[in-house]
């Protein structure tokens, strides 16, 4: 009987790992690759902002997961409910699946309950992006607040991008003078982890665009009755609220030995070099849920490369070939600030002794120019089109 490789998640990590495994193993090893996803399409999350801002039709931000079948990957539509690494079983709403190797990349749960965030708009799901698109279309003026209560959320640069993009959009619509833009964020200075160059560019941009930044914010809650965001030092009135939900551990990992309580939250714990669980040799967890444990941001690029590293490790083991983990030494990030775009790179140093990827503050701009918007657009759309 062939080896059963189970891939959980139809997002960046799952799809990248499944494709790479199929490329390496097909026709060389008796292995069955099954991908389980709760949707039948692959949607590239960075493009949700384009949908919300009305630049992109949702159909162009996704691909059917069935495309993986041409590579011999079996796709099952099901919701994962529990991972049981001791018995090598994954439970779903469509039944149980056994495995010899597990690669799980289940993203993060979006916590809309804390701080009463559920009353705001967001673009963290397709449905959320479509509702935000509608709200922005109908918006005629007033106070727009982007509220980021905690430092760990999907795509660290997103709040800084959306607030800058909103300025450009409202200018184009001729209503900028009727709009106040405020970003509430836990970082003392905007986009701080990327280092001084990014902070300087962002602060200058905010000053030029008239965006109010409330940093070092200690959030309490959203009071939707009075339409204010309550932070310890202030109450910020809003007419349109856009929220950035904190990232949490996906439920299927709850109560499993795959997760641990860390200073920055409860997350799955992996080896920084391969994405392999530090407790189970047959389990790889190249998802956003593992990124905080190794010091990487909860975003697509580090997940993509950790997934390649995991797939490389599994394929190497099955083929009896040297393992080429393909983990990264650089992490580029494309940003759109509305009237110009940025490409930033962060040098990454893998510290195998402490099992951490060091990158904070080691970032520099590769391009800060209106051309950067085009490059970001090309980067993400090509990323999507070449994933499967």
């Amino acid at each position: 009987m062939g080896k059963r490789i189970l891939v959980l998640g139809g997002g960046v990590g799952g799809v990248v790992a499944a494709k790479r495994l199929a490329e390496r193993l097909r026709g060389r090893v008796d292995a069955e690759i099954t991908l389980i996803s709760d949707t039948d399409y692959y949607l590239l999350p960075p493009l949700l902002v384009n949908i919300a801002l009305g630049d992109l039709d949702p159909a162009r931000a996704q691909l059917p997961l069935s495309m993986l079948s041409k590579r011999g990957v079996k796709v099952v539509k099901a919701s994962v409910t529990k991972v049981d690494p001791d018995n090598r079983v994954v439970e779903t709403n469509q039944g149980k699946f056994n495995y010899d190797y597990l690669i799980a990349s289940l993203g993060t749960e979006f916590d809309f309950k804390s701080y009463n965030l559920g009353v705001g708009y967001h673009n963290y799901t397709l449905d959320g992006a479509l509702k935000l698109r509608e709200a922005l279309r109908n918006f005629k003026g007033g106070s727009v607040v982007v509220f980021t209560p905690e430092p760990i959320y999907r795509c660290g640069v997103y709040p800084f991008e959306i607030i800058s993009q909103l300025d450009t959009i409202f200018r184009k619509r001729g209503i900028r003078d009727k709009v106040e833009l405020t970003l509430i964020h836990p970082f003392e200075r905007p986009i701080q982890p990327l280092g001084p160059e990014a902070v300087k560019i962002t602060e200058e941009t905010f000053a030029r665009k008239g965006i109010r930044y409330i940093g070092n914010a200690r959030p309490l809650e959203v009071d939707d009755k009075n339409k204010v965001v309550v932070i310890t030092a202030d109450k910020v009135k809003y007419d349109l609220l856009i929220v950035v939900p904190p990232a949490r551990l996906p439920k299927p990992f709850d109560g499993t030995p795959l997760a641990a309580d860390l200073p920055n939250g409860r997350w799955t714990v992996v080896d920084v070099y391969t994405g392999r669980s530090i407790k189970y040799d047959d389990v790889y967890l190249p998802g956003e849920h593992s990124m905080p444990s190794i010091g990487l941001p909860t975003a697509g690029v580090p997940v993509h490369f950790t997934a390649l590293a995991s797939a490389g490790a599994v394929a190497g083991e099955l083929l009896g070939e040297p393992i080429d983990p393909a983990q990264i030494n650089a992490m580029a990030c494309a940003m759109d600030y509305g009237d110009f775009g940025l490409m930033f790179n962060c040098d990454i140093k893998l510290n195998l002794k402490d099992n951490k990827a060091l990158w904070m503050g080691n970032c520099y701009s590769i391009l800060t120019s209106p051309l950067g918007k085009l490059i970001k657009d090309l980067f993400y759309k090509t990323w999507l089109q070449t994933t499967m």
Partner: protein
């Protein structure tokens, strides 16, 4: 707010719509096919397909070695920011200097490999007797002046 009712089209309607679109644009479609066939015959399409199919590998190589990003940061981003501080006359002067100096240095690159060490004060005095060295020293002093000025203004 007006509510738009979306009506799902039947497969027959979709087919009729597609055929209608093809018929209306038949000349353009023929032209497009001719171009595609030419691209395929010439091998351009195959080259493009290699780039598309290996895009993820390309990104992977870039992300494993930050040297390319560092080079882009210094040469592209650094230069772009510097260029934005110039006016038209500065651009023309700088361009002329790059053309003249770059062309001349390139033409005489062989002389650099023939360079001999200048030994002691006497050797330096002898070298200073050369017209080209005198002009070069003048440029170097002027360059030092500019460097000092720009460092101070920063």
């Amino acid at each position: 707010m007006a509510v738009q009712q979306q009506v799902e089209k039947s497969p027959d309607e979709k087919l009729a719509e597609t055929l209608n679109m093809l018929t209306q644009n038949i000349d353009e479609i023929r032209g497009l096919l001719d171009q595609l066939i030419e691209l395929k015959r010439s091998g351009v399409l195959d080259s493009l397909m290699i780039i598309v199919n290996r895009f993820d590998e390309l990104i992977q190589y870039l992300f494993q070695d930050p040297a390319v990003f560092r080079l882009l940061s210094i040469l592209v981003d650094g230069s772009l920011q510097a260029m934005n501080k110039l006016d038209t006359q500065d651009v023309l002067k700088l361009k002329g200097m790059v053309q003249d100096l770059g062309g001349c240095v390139g033409k005489n690159a062989g002389l650099i490999s023939e360079a001999k060490p200048v030994k002691g004060l006497l050797g330096l005095l002898r070298a200073l007797g050369d017209d080209d060295v005198q002009r070069g020293l003048g440029v170097a002093i002027q360059l030092l002046k500019v460097l000092g000025k720009c460092t101070q203004s920063k």
